[in-house]
């Protein structure tokens, strides 16, 4: 059985990317990531090459999931914003709609207040694009349905 796919097309991807780029600049951030709640990296802006983005995505999702579990225990739906303060860099993690997580990494050149402000704005725009992506996910096209057993077998050669 299948709970369906979450599909991001070129169009939504470019829109996500545009919003991340603007957020990066407006918040004076070092790097921003958009992550699926299941722990997969979707898009990033800034100097992502310096990070192990796969691990980061998985742990950010685990972080949101775990604090969400804590939230439920005290009768909250979830904690939609997490802030981790480091010696040099800080991390702001927030939930976007039902599916996504926005991660902003910033240092002294910015501040948590500014990041929070810019994230709020970006989240509104990301939510709209997310809604488009979810609508499109119900109507997939593009080759996966043509996958054969032989294709699958070829992965293991």
């Amino acid at each position: 059985m299948n709970q369906g796919h979450f599909i991001v097309r070129e169009r939504e991807y470019e829109e996500f990317l545009g919003i991340l780029r603007k957020l990066m600049v407006d918040a004076f951030a070092k790097v921003v990531f958009l992550v699926d709640k299941n722990g997969t990296l979707l898009a990033s802006s800034g100097d992502a090459a310096g990070f192990d983005t796969t691990s980061l995505a998985s742990l950010a999702a685990g972080n949101i999931a775990a604090t969400g579990g804590l939230a439920n225990l005290i009768g909250e739906k979830e904690f939609s914003i997490l802030f981790h303060e480091g010696e040099r860099d800080n991390m702001h993690i927030s939930v976007v709609g039902e599916r996504l997580i926005l991660v902003v990494i910033f240092d002294r050149r910015s501040s948590v207040g500014l990041v929070r402000l810019r994230v709020r704005k970006a989240t509104e725009r990301l939510s709209l694009v997310l809604a488009e992506a979810i609508a499109a996910s119900n109507d997939p096209t593009g080759g996966i349905e043509e996958m054969t057993e032989a294709d699958i077998e070829s992965l293991f050669k």
Binding site: M1, N2, Q3, G4, H5, F6, I7, V8, R9, E10, E12, Y13, E14, D36, K37, N38, G39, T40, L42, D52, T54, S55, S58, L59, G62, A65, A66, G68, G69, P140, G142, G143, I144, E145, E146, M147, E149, D151, I152, S154, L155, F156
Partner: protein, 196 residues
């Protein structure tokens, strides 16, 4: 719920290793990590206690090549097996595309296996899955030890759905890749069905 990115042409799927504490879930991932080509795997993350018991999860990302122009990526997770970590197990099952149920073949662990399988079914249902339909394989681990239950017994106890099943000795790697390959196949077949 698999995540398909048409822009970067990637398919991402989540596979969870489930089973009672100490049955060998982490050992499976460690063996896969050791044997995979470094280009095909990312870093393995273990959120564990000081005594190496899994606290939250282990995570190992794999990328296995392309199908029809799509890169295929599989994120392997293990759950903590101890009964009292049920809340964490439920979180890790979220969005899962396929399950490996890892059983401990030792006679002394018969009850623990059954309990864990029941717990898996309850938690899957809670996440909105049908436990009789989700892609699943069963691995009977620790076949190298003395005092293990027979395959027929384990099958009767744990495999009422009659899913693909494998004997293994994860500590030496026997059966580990057969299990992985089988669950990946089921996940991709399911993905294809969902895409229609």
């Amino acid at each position: 719920m698999s995540f398909i990115n048409y822009s970067s042409r990637e398919i991402n799927c989540k596979i969870v290793y489930y089973g009672p504490g100490l049955c060998g879930k982490t050992t499976n991932l460690q063996f896969i990590y050791k044997r995979m080509n470094p280009e095909a795997r990312g870093k393995m993350i273990s959120l564990a206690t000081e005594t190496e018991r899994t606290l939250f999860f282990d995570f190992l990302p794999l990328s296995l090549g392309e199908i029809r122009g799509f890169k295929t990526r599989f994120h392997l997770y293990t759950v903590p097996g101890q009964v009292f970590y049920d809340a964490s197990r439920r979180l890790i099952l979220r969005g899962v595309d396929g399950v490996v149920f890892c059983a401990d073949s030792q006679l002394t662990r018969v009850d623990a296996n059954e309990e864990s399988m029941e717990n898996l079914r309850v938690n899957l249902r809670e996440q909105g899955y049908d436990p009789d339909k989700i892609p699943m394989v069963i691995q009977y681990n620790k076949r190298d030890l003395p005092g293990v239950a027979s395959l027929a017994e384990l099958h009767a106890l744990l495999n009422r759905r009659n899913v693909p099943e494998f004997e293994s000795s994860a500590a030496t790697g026997i059966g580990v890749f057969e299990t992985l390959k089988a669950v990946i196949k089921l996940v991709l077949i399911d993905l294809k069905k969902g895409a229609r």
